[in-house]
Structure formats: C-alpha cells, structure tokens
C-alpha cells in the first residue's frame, strides 16, 4: 500500500530492534479475549483510479448547477469562490499542519487566523472574534451558554424567526442543563415580536437572527434596547455573512454577542459542511468566550509574532470548568474566509452584497407581479417567503422535473406557512434563470 512505506527488510530490522519476531507480537498487551480474530468485513482495497471512478459516480448523482437551477439558501449559499482562494487554501503547509501549539513553526496559520479574527470582528462590528467554531448553529448555542455564564441567569428567549435547525441545535445543547428556552413569535412583517420580551423576567439573553430565516432584516437597535432594559444580553445570529457588506453590522446596533455562519465567505457548500461558525463579543466578555483565540505578541528579538492565547479558558487546562469542551476550530475554513475577505475587499463586498440584494428583489418583484404573494412585508436580503398559487409543494414537484429546485418548503417547519416556500437568489443566479422560474410557476 502506497501510504505504508515499510519494506519487508525494514519490518524485519525494526522487529529485531524491539526484540520481537512477528508484527502480531506487538499486541501482546492485548488480552486474548479482547482480540478480534476474524477479518473486517469491508470492501477490498481499491486502486486510486477505481476509487475515483466510484466516487465520481456518486458525485454524479447530485443535483448541482449548471444542470440544475437551485434557489435554495436557508443557511447554505451559492456564491462564487475565486480560484485564488481554492488554490491558496490547498497549500499543504496550511492543510497538513496541526493546531499551532508550537508557535515558532506555525506563524503562517497564526498570522492567518489573527487576520481572520480582525476581519471577522470588523464584519460583525465587534471588538473580539474567536478563531472559529464548527458552524453557525453550534456557535449560536455556545453564545447562549456564554450569556448564561456572564449573567448568572438561566432563561433565554429565542426568536422563532431563527433558522429552525439552529433552534434545534440550541435545544440539544440546552436539554441536559436545566436552563429554560422560550420562543418569541414573529409578526406579519416577518420580524420578531419584541414586545414579548417585556413580559419575561430574568432573561440571560434575547437571541434574534438578522437577516432572519425568512430573509427579513430585524430591528436590532430595538431588540438591543428591549434586552438591555431587562438586564439581558442581545445575541445576534446570522446565516448569510455577506449581508453585512450592505447592512449595518450587528455590533454597531447594540449586539453584545454575535454568532453565525460564515460559509458565504469563500467556502463551498459541500452538502452542508465543513463550514464556519463565527463568534464575536465585546472586549469585556472576552474571558467568557469559548474556543480558541490568537493574540499578537513579540519574539525574543522584539519581532512581531502571534500565539494562541487566553488558553486558561479551555478544556485542556480548566477541564470540567472550561468555557466549552471545544478542542478545535474550523481553522482551514476561517483561513478560506480571510482569503475571501481579502480578495473581495471593503469596496468589493459592498458592491457584491448590493448585487445580491438587487437580484433577489428582481425575483421577488417578478413573482409578486405574476400573482405569487410575498408573505412578509419587511425588507429582505437575498431570501424571501412566497406562496405559489395552487400550493408550494405541487409547484415544487413540477419544477423539479424542469431541473429547477424552487427553494425550501416551509410547512414542515412552520405549519402556519404550509403552501409557502423560502427562495434564495445570489450573484450566481442569472436573470434568465429567474425569468424561467417565474414562467414555469405561472405556466
């Protein structure tokens, strides 16, 4: 096998060194009744080419553009990824290194992650961002546990307009803790009903998502004001990081902790992962943050350098008293996001975000004009909820035959939104593709 470099001669010589006759003698410490004596029932080893053919066949059974027009967003977005990002990210010095516990020989990763933390903090309008988490949903769950730690309170209110999967993950993380989760309903505008916050005492956090699951842009200053007046923190989530190229950042509108998904920033959808959990806070809450942090320092000669820091928060030192059990970050994905943010630049991200918004508005207006009601009145970014005459699911099935995936059916998540679908448009979607969708829906 080409990954195993030992020749028969090597094995014989090394066994001689350790004083054994056969390879199986190496397992003398494993008692006989613990040994598996059969053969693993797995497919026989495949050549590189046979494997490529097999996996290629599987990949061929997936619906992707350009064969399909996919109007799906809902937490995973189709944005162009510059060839530079894929190429630079493939450099094996980045790919095949470990967590930078030896900073002198991993300054590449460390400076790269420090730059990511900086650009991520600027994007979210916050003072401090972590070196990344698994995904947006787990980042949100960790953010809410953090709010519980900071406030010493045990109740959290979640907007019902947060991505349903994110709420499910939060429920999973909270289930064994005894902390209470409450839901805030949404209004006819598609925005969270913030008035309900007043009725709840002793909240650790109010969590909203903006743009929310319906694509609607929440009133974050009002949410912050309501949360803060009751002594709670505002945790602001997101699934579409590109939105902050155009919208005011959550940090500039009063959020105390920001948690969301950075997949839009140069990371392929890859059937949902790996992606990029982004988490940021005010500096005063820095020591309550879960996960890794890279900090700036100097070496013995006074030269600028970077190092993992504030590690005493983490599990390998504080064990059961750590701020989280997390022991990795999605480092390579964070690096991809930094490369993407560097490539697009401040001027570029605003232009691209505007283009995304314009395109989504085009489809929204075209559908409305064609007799498909837009469910919510609030302004949206990239995504919107629409009802198809004759029912969403019937239209969806019809469109699949035309190789169009018309978004996501919402009835399973929100019974009151049966017949409605969530559609997404990004810069990769052409006007022709949108026109064709409208044509088929109204046909």
């Amino acid at each position: 096998m080409r990954y195993l470099p030992h020749t028969d001669g090597d094995i014989a010589a090394m066994l001689g060194t350790v004083g054994l006759k056969e390879l199986d003698d190496l397992f003398a410490a494993v008692p006989g009744d613990c040994r598996f004596k059969g053969a693993l029932q797995l497919p026989e080893a495949m050549s590189e080419w046979a494997l490529e053919e097999l996996v290629g066949r599987l990949a061929g059974r997936m619906a992707v553009s350009p064969e399909y027009s996919v109007f799906l967003g809902a937490g995973s977005y189709d944005h162009y990824i510059p060839a530079t990002v894929s190429s630079l990210l493939g450099r094996s010095e980045f790919v095949t290194s470990y967590t930078p516990y030896q900073p002198e020989m991993l300054q590449g990763t460390l400076q790269g992650i420090y730059e990511y933390q900086t650009l991520a903090a600027r994007l979210m309008g916050m003072e401090v961002a972590t070196a990344s988490h698994y995904d947006g949903a787990t980042a949100l769950a960790e953010a809410l546990l953090m709010a519980v730690r900071i406030t010493g309170r045990k109740k959290v209110a979640l907007s019902r307009a947060i991505h349903p999967h994110y709420r499910q993950v939060v429920r999973t993380y909270f289930a064994p803790t005894g902390y209470e989760l409450l839901e805030l309903p949404y209004l006819e505008t598609g925005l969270t009903d913030l008035d309900r916050i007043r009725e709840i005492q002793d909240l650790a956090a109010v969590a909203v998502q903006s743009p929310n699951f319906f694509g609607c842009i929440e009133n974050l200053p009002a949410a912050a004001q309501r949360a803060h007046s009751g002594g709670a923190l505002l945790v602001s989530g997101f699934t579409e990081a590109l939105a902050f190229g155009l919208l005011k950042s959550p940090g500039s509108q009063g959020a105390d902790i920001v948690a969301g998904e950075g997949q839009s920033l140069g990371i392929p959808r890859s059937f949902g992962g790996p992606a990029l959990g982004m988490l940021a806070s005010r500096k005063r809450h820095m020591r309550s943050l879960p996960g890794r942090l890279v900090g700036k320092t100097k070496d013995r000669d006074g030269k600028r350098g970077f190092v993992l820091t504030l590690a005493t928060r983490e599990q390998h030192i504080r064990r059961e008293k750590a701020t989280s059990n997390i022991c990795s970050n999605n480092s390579l994905c964070a690096l991809a996001a930094a490369m993407y943010m560097a490539s697009i630049g401040g001027t570029g991200i605003r232009e691209l975000a505007s283009l995304n918004h314009d395109k989504a508005e085009y489809l929204k207006n075209a559908l409305r004009d064609a007799g498909c009601p837009i469910r919510f009145s609030g302004p949206t970014f990239n995504e919107f909820v629409v009802r198809f005459p004759g029912g969403f699911d019937a239209a969806y099935r019809h469109l699949l035959e035309k190789r169009i995936v018309a978004g996501l059916s919402l009835g399973g998540y929100y019974p009151e939104l049966a017949d409605h679908g969530l559609l997404c448009v990004t810069e990769t979607c052409s006007r022709e593709a949108m026109d064709r969708l409208v044509e088929e829906v109204t046909a």
């Binding site: 790919v95 030896q102 064994p176 900090g295 570029g348």
Partner: protein, 485 residues
Amino acid sequence: MSESLGTTGLVLNEPLLWERGKKGRCGFSMPAGDVPSSPLPAELTGDGPDFPDLSEIEVVRHYTRLSTWNFGVDTGLYPLGSCTMKYNPKINEKLAGLRGFAAAHPLLPSVLSQGALQLVFDLERFLAEITGLDAVTLQPAAGAQGELTGMLIIHAYHRLRGKQRTKILIPDTAHGTNPASAALCGYLPVPVPSGPDGILLPETVVGLMDSETAGIMITNPNTLGLFEANIREIARIVHDRGGLVYGDGANMNAVLGVVKPGAVGVDILHLNLHKTFSTPHGGGGPGAGPVAVRKDLVRFLPVPRVVERNGAYELSEGFPESVGRVMAFHGHFGVLLRAHAYILSMGPDGLKQVSRLAVLNANYIREKLKDVLHPAFDRPCMHECVFSDQNQQETGITTLEMAKRLIDYGYHPPTIYFPLVVHGAIMIEPTETETKEDLDGFIEAFRSVVREAGENPGVIREAPVRCKLRRVDETAAARNPCLTG
C-alpha cells in the same frame, strides 16, 4: 549537522493584510449586474466593513509567504502524541473537490442527493464494522462534539430509565475534553487514578462505581500509549451497576482490526476521522467525530439519519427519542468523504497493517531513545511512547526547551506536558506513514538534543534559532491580550 537535517531557509517577511493594498483595488472578478438596482432603506444600510482593498497578486503573495512559515505533515515528521499526524492522501483532496459534492446544497431533496446519502450510509456501515458496534452517526463535527453527543446519549438513556445520575468516572490520564464534555451534561467528573502499570484496575472502579454514577469514559489505548487490558472486567462492573461505558476512540488507530471496542464492553464510542482515518488537520480543524453505539442506544442518535428503502436513500427525522440535532446540517461531509476514500483505499488488510506499523514505529522509537530519555513505564507501548523528564532533571533543561531545540533540527516536537500524570511528559507518536530512515533521523536528532542538554545547555535555551521567529512571549500575549488589529 548533516545536510539532510535541519534548515537553511529563505524566509521572506510579509506584513499584515491591512498594511498592504490601496483603496480601489479588488482581487475579485465582480459579476456584471443584469437587473435594475433596488436600494434598501438608508436606515438599514451601513458603510460596509473596513476591509483592505487588495489586488489578486497581493493576496496570492501574502498567503504564499505565510504558508512558508508553516510546518505540515507534507513538510516533515510530526510526531505529536495523541494527535496522529499521519500522511493525508492527495486523492482524497481531489475527490472532495468534485463539483457534485463541493457544490451540493445540504437541503436538496433526497432524490437529488442520492450520491451523498449513499456515501454517508456506506461510511456509517464501515465504521460500525470497524468498531464492532451497531450503528453510527456522522453528524458530530469533531472528537469533542462526538463526546458531547455520547454524553447526551448517556443522559437520555438514564432519563428514559426513570432516574438521572449525577456523576461520571474519568481516568486521570484522560484528555481534558472528557471532563468538559461530561460537565456540559451536568455530570460531575470523578477522577479514577490509574494503577502502578499505567492502566486502570478493576478494584479501583469497583470502589467508585455506584448507583449515582452514569458510567465511565475510557480512552483505549489510553493516553500513556497503553492498552487498558482490564477493559472487559471494568465494563462488566459498570454494566452490573447500571452504568454505560463510553469509549474515547481517539487512539483507535492503534487497534484497527485487532480490537473491536463493541466486543469488549464499550457501549458508545467516538472516532476522530482526522486522526485514524487520515483526513487533514488543517491547522486546527475541521475534523469529524462520528459516534458508534450498540443496538439499544440507536434510538438516541442525532437526527436526521440516513435510511435505506428499496435501494434508495432518504433522510429520516422519525426517531422521537433522539437527542436531537447537533449540527445545522449533516456534519462535516467534506471530511467524511475523505475518510470514506481512505477506508476504500486501504481495505481490511491495509487497515490492520496501519495499526501494526503504527505500533511498530512507536516501539522502535521507544527502544532507540530509552537509554537517554526515561520511559514513563517499563513496558512496550501501543501507537505512542511516553517519556518523563527524569533523566534531564540534573541538567536543568526542561521538556519545553528540548522540544524547542528539536525544531532547529527540522522536526515538529512531540506533545509535551501531557498526560499530566507523567512529570515533564514527552509523548511521541510517529504514525505508520513514516519511513525507517525518517525515524532514524528523528532519533539521531533527539539524542543530539539530549547530549546538548548536558554539554551545551546554552544552545538549547536559545532555541529555536532557525524559524521565522525566535521564542515568542506567551506571557505578554496573555497579560495584555491583543486579538484584533
């Protein structure tokens, strides 16, 4: 020093991203607008983030230079104990880039995502066979999240049986993630001291396992690189008292095809695909931490699960006792498909050979260094060997200083100061993918460092001298944290 060792190096400087560039540059191919402009209300829009504007060549040079300051498995031997820095096959990277997978949306209807669903289904079956357990979830994003998922399953199990328990047994050699994961589920970790030979004794477990204890978390082989030979007896004790046995499969790479954890009493086990199954570590992630369980715990696995009906695959949420979702979508699919490719490349015999050679390499290093470094235990090891700093006490040279000096010889240092039960621990895990010649080079370098500790300690205290940077000041970084620029 021989010409084949160490570095001579061309190291270029490179500023921070925002110290480069000029307003108005762009490294992105902006698509043309083909629809009318439709501005948002002004009160919603901001000025956009303060990113530097860079050209494509600036971005390329920046990251290319940064990459040259990094050391990866592709650069050289990376014997970090407990981390399993084995070779990451290139074909797996190529397959992960196939458009059908890379561009696939996670919420595609099942009929349009049969390829990915089949891959998940097959990989679950492979891992079930390897672990000797009945079913697998691939959703957990990393080993630590696998542990959390396992703890949630234990929590759900006891809740369903009508009486929640409050404690969990964790050996003193465990990774810090174990107690942290247990604490997330409200369990109080109870440390279990290992015996004089570095492994757990059944009598210790008997004394601690009571009706308030939910189970035990055991890493096997343990973090001292030793097989927990009493595992069956310990499992019997825990089971008899109503507990569950959680296996931390971080070191499964030592016993592929040799031990099936499910057959020796383990009820729940997580695997680290980025360790045993060759997926790259990426400078800290992403990894993947699948969890395997025995039959009667299947109902607690996270949803959605892939099920097969008449040769077609679909996602099912129909498991009411599930602990719920642990990730927004299906976990780190891009990592899963690399592990799937690895298992198919190796085949059953290849996987078994992986463990044999991993153990051979570790014992070879142990044998060749044991006269200069003090072995923590006087017996052969599994896939990693652990030394203490006992022999270096007189010189005053610390484990950390020796580790830093190894860098000058062109090697990544071993894991140091872990496990905590060994003073000044040096934990070496070469993995099976290293050649005998590279091991000999590393051994020669380490012996040379030990010699220097006695003869020329000054040179060790200065190390490293051949990296981008000299030793960095971690104290200053922690006293006055500067996390953004």
